[in-house]
Amino acid sequence: MIVYDKVSKWYGSFQVLTECSTQVRRGEVVVICGPSGSGKSTLIKCANGLEPFQAGEITVDGISVGAPGTNLPKLRSRIGMVFQHFELFPHLSIMANLTIAQVKVLGRRPDEAAEKGLQLLDRVGLRALADKHPGQLSGGQQQRVAIARALAMDPICMLFDEPTSALDPEMINEVLDVMVELAREGMTMMCVSHEMGFARKVAHRVIFMDQGRIVEDAPTEEFFGAPRSERAQQFLSKILRH
């Protein structure tokens, strides 16, 4: 589904990604972890072209992201993305947040889009908030709406960029619950996350990054059982201690 082939990226002369290769198969859940500044977020933002890259190739569902002729907006409309800071549209109601891209991008009828929106709000347990504005919701609620907004486009895969790291601790689980359910339904997912409990529960593979390189890419049990690289061992011992 998503294939990275020797992807490299520079900011000026500073290299942020170095020959990253991996792939996410249909229905697979992959969690990416690593210290801050290791390039995790950059890596998944390359998958829908939000970040350009200078070398290598990424294909999503067979379509090359970096090729000049690619219709990026069209490709993006098929890839769901959830951001660290939710990024709901503050000037629109929750319902309008869920329907605007369905109507403007996919060309759905407004009533059709609204029905879909309500169905997804139901699913994340927030149907009662349809008429509110994002500013009236808690962080956890906003992030669940953001997931619903992405799902409303019927994406073929979902990218999560640290979806819980801006949340207060008591709100993390409500978001993770939605993600776990999504994973169990067979959604193809790529998640940048430090939630190792989540990774253990649903990830098929864990990727560990450091200094712009994919240092480890292993099935979940293997990764938590015996990480091969010293750097990953150190990292795990630091974040799993508590």
């Binding site: 829908n48 490709l75 993305m81 951001f83 990024e87 549209f89 891209a101 991008v105 907004r149 992405a150």
Partner: protein, 225 residues
């Protein structure tokens, strides 16, 4: 001691009202054109494409570096000749209003462009990324996500600019166009009551500007709450 005599004002009200309609037409046209053309200029400046941003920047900088009176005069002297050549209108057609409308619209666009540019930049980058991630092309990102938020952030500045513009329309006196100020001046001059007429005109300007800014302040407070 100067003796005030307000008696010539009641009879002059129809002329003053006509002048006010000229003032309002100039103001509203310049606001409408200024915001649309200014928004396009702002987007051109922010496009990151030199062939778009460079001409837009030049336009803005040139107009902001020239006094408004001169722009009004230039357009009065140039636009009629141009129009006469292009459209073959008669030399006698009164073209002062048209040239003033063009001058104000183009001049104000430069200021609106800067206000709108700042407004667009005040919208967080994450909002753009989120809209793009949903598959919106650039025009839709702007239309549905960035501009509505930018507009809200820049309302106070847009309003201030509109009030300044409303007052600046009085500068059309240099081309002999009878706006509200011009009408008041003419009547005062005719009746030998210049002081009274100009005080009256000043009062009307004040009342309108103050009322508008009060109104918008209240509207804003309501929309925030």
């Amino acid at each position: 001691m100067y003796e005030f005599d307000w008696s010539s004002i009641p009879g002059a009200l129809p002329i003053l009202a006509k002048g006010m309609s000229v003032t309002l037409e100039l103001t509203l046209t310049a606001i409408a054109v200024g915001i649309v053309w200014g928004a396009l200029l702002a987007m051109a400046r922010l496009s990151g494409k030199p062939w778009l941003s460079w001409p837009a920047a030049t336009y803005v900088n040139v107009f902001r570096a020239i006094p408004l009176v001169m722009v009004i005069l230039w357009f009065y002297l140039i636009v009629p000749a141009l129009l006469q050549q292009l459209l073959h209108v008669q030399a006698s057609t009164d073209i002062r209003m048209a040239s003033a409308l063009v001058a104000f619209s183009l001049f104000e666009s430069a200021y609106y462009a800067e206000i709108i540019r700042a407004g667009i930049q005040s919208v967080p980058k994450g909002q753009v990324a989120a809209a793009q991630a949903l598959g919106m092309p650039y025009a839709q990102v702007m239309r549905w996500v960035v501009l509505p938020q930018a507009l809200r952030n820049m309302t106070p500045l847009l309003l201030t600019q509109a009030i300044i513009l409303f007052q600046d329309t009085s500068l059309v006196y240099v081309i002999g166009l009878a706006d509200f100020f011009g009408a008041a001046y003419k009547v005062g001059d005719r009746d030998g009551r210049l002081v009274e007429l100009l005080l009256f005109a000043g009062l009307i300007y004040f009342v309108i500007c103050y009322a508008v800014s009060w109104l918008v302040k209240n509207l804003q407070r309501k929309s925030v709450a």
